[in-house]
Symmetry: C2
Subunit: 251 residues, 2 copies
């Protein structure tokens, strides 16, 4: 509790999946806060966050599960976010601290953004601290040994479902392109890559940092498979890097 008698609302990035890839600051905040709110995906019955909280031995008594539909229609979840923001604001105004935890980084394709905007709009007196985290693109590149950017190079991050038409142009302009959430359009991605005038180095990465981690460089072997929502593809242009990466695969 601060001197003003009000607590703090934290947005905490848990990193890409490996509990060791949490920052020291995230770890400290999780141990210090009164309440940890974490999203639970009702549709799949899973919670990325709970798994990490369990691995870190965070006391279950201070954790509150918030069930989200995560459907394309985010209307019902909007109501859930509003209710959760109210609950957290109430705690903070009583001098308690509350954290909303998310996979990766709290401002990068994350549920936290909804809570953050809701809190800012309706409870502007609530102090907010955001703790950044390691993103899944960084973790995937590290696991696959693919350099992301050197010197003057440009990087793009594009949700696959919205970016395939523009992919050939993107690959001309950007040294590395991360295609996010490729699971629903994977076969279209294969066709788009096959039609490119030049070969690019591609790595499929799934659930990086978890025991189910999977890295695949021959993308065709995945055709027709059911793929994880926590998946992305790294596409990389540079020839020297391509050579280095291939050498790594051979080790």
């Amino acid at each position: 509790m601060s001197e003003t008698g009000i607590g703090t609302f934290y947005g905490v990035g848990l990193g890409p999946g490996d509990p060791e890839l949490l920052t020291r600051k995230a770890m400290r905040i999780l141990s210090e806060v009164d309440w940890i709110f974490y999203p639970f995906e009702a549709r799949t019955g899973t919670s990325f966050s709970r798994r990490i909280l369990t691995a870190l031995a965070v006391p279950a008594a201070k954790c509150r599960q918030i069930s989200l539909g995560m459907a394309q229609d985010r209307g019902p979840d909007q109501y859930t976010y509003a209710t959760a923001a109210e609950a957290m604001a109430k705690e903070v105004r009583q001098g308690k601290s509350a954290a909303w935890v998310t996979q990766g980084d709290p401002l990068f394709y994350s549920t936290f953004i909804h809570l953050y905007l809701e809190m800012r709009r309706r409870f502007p007196d609530v102090p907010i601290t955001i703790v950044p985290g390691v993103t899944s693109p960084s973790a995937a590149a590290a696991a696959a040994g693919v350099p992301v950017s050197l010197l003057e190079e440009k990087v793009a991050v594009v949700p696959a479902v919205y970016g395939l038409d523009h992919l050939p142009t993107l690959l001309d302009d950007f040294a590395t392109v991360f295609l996010m959430k490729v699971n629903t359009v994977f076969d279209q991605v294969l066709e788009t890559l096959a039609a490119l005038p030049h070969r690019v180095h591609a790595v499929y990465a799934e659930r990086v940092g978890t025991p189910e981690e999977r890295l695949v460089t021959d993308l065709h072997t995945l055709r027709g498979q059911k793929l994880s929502y926590f998946s992305l593809i790294i596409l990389r242009q540079d020839k020297s890097i391509l050579a280095a990466a291939q050498q790594k695969e051979g080790v």
Copy 2:
């Protein structure tokens, strides 16, 4: 030392500047390895990495400083990278472990990439483990309270000196654009932003996470100033987010 009698070469991301934004894994590796090689910028006489290593109380006896020119002409540094790779490969082949540490993430605009490519090419038997880190864009967005990406949004990371002509087009296509290394072309950035048909939310961020951290939303106040090399600008389109961010500034 592994069962094969050979050690490991680590690329370790130290995060954006705050020693608390190191990952738990990075912290463990730094305490376990025999040698830590860190870059020292001869031109400015500073070392981002040494500052963090000192803050973490890593024993100086296992740290080795490698002096780099970091000039536009990277020829002389290439020789330094080659020599450092040789020294680390020698240690690893003798069963020792060696880490090359870098600001942010080891594969994102980092000196580690040079060591990595050199090691792969010349010493392919050396096992390599890369520990990802929190990037400066993630840290800057967290400090400034600017959401980076929601749902279908696209993100671009562009070194300012190479991307200004295309900036208006980029801002049409990407919800958030990070302009990296803006210090040498800052006044041109101002002109480019002023000529845009619509206003975008812009935040200048410098040395985020260090005691010298600086966040500036009225970019014009920086005109003509000498700016840090460790600087970037976040450019963000979305109107609702713009409103939320402005609200935060008012707190």
